[in-house]
Symmetry: C2
Subunit: 228 residues, 2 copies
């Protein structure tokens, strides 16, 4: 069948389009991470991408849609990472987290790896922070199928790990899974990371370790853990 030719051309044009849009969402992602939705202006986005503002609006119908696309992309990246943790690779199967007896392949290990990944992304300035309060963006996100789909998939994966980790006695079983889930999500916009970064007293790795500690072990001193 020679129906192959037209699709090829279409694919090329589509690829060009997607590459441009990819460049846009990438810039939006950075700006969103740096200053947040309200402080980010469409002019800045256009300037950073290197195209005219009007051209932006040919790709995205509003500032909210722009931010939404970036959030969707971030969500899909997260989903891909979580899926990767569920793939039994050699690294995942054999690794164990430093100074704990927790295997990377265990539900608890995956939760910790996910959290660490989130913090790394945030410190690298690649984690778009949605203002928990802004309503116009929230409305757009809630109405976006791709975003909500991604959010649900991520929630499902994490939720399953949380419940497994609770059964295995790793996560405090007295906490509702939803509370654990929200607490993990909240690491994506934890101001402690920024504050510690601004203080310039610690390396990124140290900051991550500290936040991981407060997140999983809490502020209280821990009695010696029972060996595993």
């Amino acid at each position: 069948m020679n129906t192959a030719a037209p699709p090829v051309k279409k694919t090329f044009k589509t690829q060009m389009l997607e590459a441009r849009e990819q460049a846009i969402t990438s810039s939006v992602n950075r700006l969103l991470s740096e200053k947040g939705f309200d402080a980010m202006t469409v002019d800045e986005v256009a300037a950073e991408v290197g195209i005219a503002k009007a051209s932006l609006y040919k790709h995205f119908s509003s500032k909210e849609a722009l931010a939404c696309a970036a959030m969707v992309q971030a969500m899909q990246k997260a989903e891909a990472f979580l899926d990767g943790l569920n793939q039994p690779t050699e690294r995942n199967e054999q690794g164990s987290l430093a100074s704990t007896g927790i295997a990377v392949s265990s539900p608890m290990g995956k939760l910790m790896a996910s959290t660490r990944w989130t913090l790394q992304l945030k410190l690298a300035g690649q984690m778009p922070t949605l203002p928990s309060q802004n309503s116009s963006l929230r409305a757009t996100l809630m109405a976006s199928r791709p975003y909500m789909d991604g959010l649900m998939k991520v929630s499902d994966i994490l939720g399953a790990w949380i419940m497994q980790a609770q059964k295995e006695g790793r996560i405090n079983a007295s906490l509702p899974p939803i509370a654990v889930l929200y607490t993990l999500f909240a690491r994506a916009c934890d101001p402690v990371v920024e504050f510690l970064k601004m203080s310039e007293l610690h390396t990124d790795e140290e900051i991550i370790e500290m936040v991981m500690t407060t997140c999983f072990a809490g502020l209280s001193a821990r009695p010696a853990e029972t060996s595993t």
Copy 2:
């Protein structure tokens, strides 16, 4: 001496002024807590207070100054609360926190009481949330003596408790005190509280207990605590 009369009148006028400004900061406080600095408009503030926008500007020179006044007030309230915990009242001396052996009068007990108070205020919609990213407001706050004074006093009090609690083996001594301080401050803008509140699955008290648990005990299951 009959120099008493003029001061009386002046005091009265001052009181009127302060009462009005108190009403303004109170409204700002509520709006700041509800929607944040960016989403809050000066028109809304004027409407809620019940005066014209121009009148607002007779009291405060800018939107930032408006928010700053509210933040200062909140900070002073916090300072007063912390001071109260340091006063040896009967309640403080004898109380002990439910289901733990931690005395309210101990440094750890005071830290937990402070955190609980913060969460209660937040749930009551009385905790003005400063956007960690907004720069114009941050600049104003940094330049405000009353705010910075309050911030430092609060930080000093909490910092002292933190170091004492670390010496007593209550707070994880491997965490830098500043990281602990930031982590406690962050409870004032913890999105987990809002998320859980929105889910409508839990009472305010339950939400507070969950956040207190994740904050101090962490997400991980804890082995049986050594008795105290």
